[in-house]
């Protein structure tokens, strides 16, 4: 039988244990994936005891607390801290989510924090999203019109047409959905993945865009689009409550009926 296991240098080892120094009676154990590219070491799981009596309500607050008070070398992306920028996407307690909107009191016992799955790790909780951004660029996420630069008037949109973009324009490209998708794990180089396909649909579905046909043809590809097997992990993980699976379904339907 074939045996699947991680290569020697990717095996996760037990890391350091940071004991609490505050003497608090309300401690939580936080296990965090650590990997530093500049050291020739295996990734490890560090455990931090954190005093929850003096900590904000979100998982990101825990990370700030650890970085400020325990280990400043802990590395993670963050920016807005209230769920609009998508920088702090990570795997919290087994689910991809934004650490700034995830409440830690939802999680009982020890809290495990990993980078987004199946990305090349840059450092600690930072994943390499270059492939996703390249794919995003490939769907040409901007308004395309035939009149082009010749028009000086604004291109208007009716309220009903604008409403068709609800549930799609809100996407912040945090990559939680794409990195939760098993199909994207296997074929991430060719399959566009839920995040990018949702964006593709957002432009196909825009009444002001005049490149709909070409856009549809471009994604109508066995690998780019049809690697979606409606596993629905994307919709489950989306921290903004969107439904990428539905967007992909709509693209498939448009192709089947046009």
């Amino acid at each position: 039988m074939v045996q699947f296991s991680l290569p020697q240098n990717s095996k996760i080892l037990k890391g350091k244990y940071y004991k609490d120094k505050s003497g608090s009676n309300n401690l939580k154990k936080i296990n965090i994936y650590r990997w530093d590219p500049s050291k020739n070491e295996n990734p490890r799981i560090d455990t931090f005891e954190v005093n929850m009596n003096e900590c904000g309500p979100k998982v990101l607050d825990i990370l700030f607390k650890i970085k400020n008070e325990i280990d400043p070398s802990l590395t993670f992306r963050r920016s807005c801290a209230h769920g609009v920028c998508g920088s702090c996407a990570m795997n919290v307690d087994g689910v991809n989510t934004l650490s700034c909107t995830k409440s830690h009191s939802d999680i009982r016992g020890e809290l495990n924090i990993y980078p987004l799955p199946h990305l090349k790790v840059v450092k600690d909780l930072v994943g390499d999203l270059n492939n996703l951004y390249k794919q995003y660029e490939s769907i040409e996420p901007w308004l395309k019109t035939k009149v082009g630069e010749k028009t000086t008037k604004e291109i208007k949109q009716s309220q009903e047409d604008r409403e068709k973009l609800d549930g799609y324009y809100e996407c912040i490209l945090c990559a939680c959905c794409s990195t939760a998708c098993p199909s994207y794990w296997w074929n991430g180089d060719k399959y566009l993945g839920p995040a990018v396909l949702l964006q593709a649909y957002r432009w196909i579905n825009d009444s002001r865009d005049e490149d709909k046909k070409e856009r549809l043809q471009k994604v109508a590809d066995e690998l780019k689009l049809y690697r979606c097997h409606t596993i629905m992990n994307c919709t489950n993980s989306c921290p903004k409550g969107l439904n990428p699976a539905k967007a992909i379904g709509s693209i498939k339907k448009m192709l089947a009926t046009s």
Partner: protein, 130 residues
Amino acid sequence: MQKTMQSKCAVFRTEKTLKEGMKEIRKPFEGMENISVQDKSLLFNTDLVETLEFDNLIRQAMTTIDSAYHRKESRGAHAREDFKKRDDKSYMTHTLAWQKGNEVKVAYRPVHAKTLTNDVQYFPPKERVY
């Protein structure tokens, strides 16, 4: 730094809060002598980045709070509770600030009252009323 700026140099400020703030903001600045970066790695070193950001921000904070103290009028988001009116006579000026160590030197230069082309006219700024 954040706490001082938010409590002493918020949009609504007075001579008293600004004076206290000017003193308080110098404490974190002096603390910079003892700052160190623990993360020594060369890739994605957020510890280093944040330290450099702090170096920039603390100087910006000092110049901000000192400039606000010396501008004895209200204008836009600089709302002095002790000088509620806008004072175009003395303060139709840009503030210039030089920071060196603990000292901040504040000076002024007038606002240009003409445009660079003849296509548009100069709009004299006036008080914003709602």
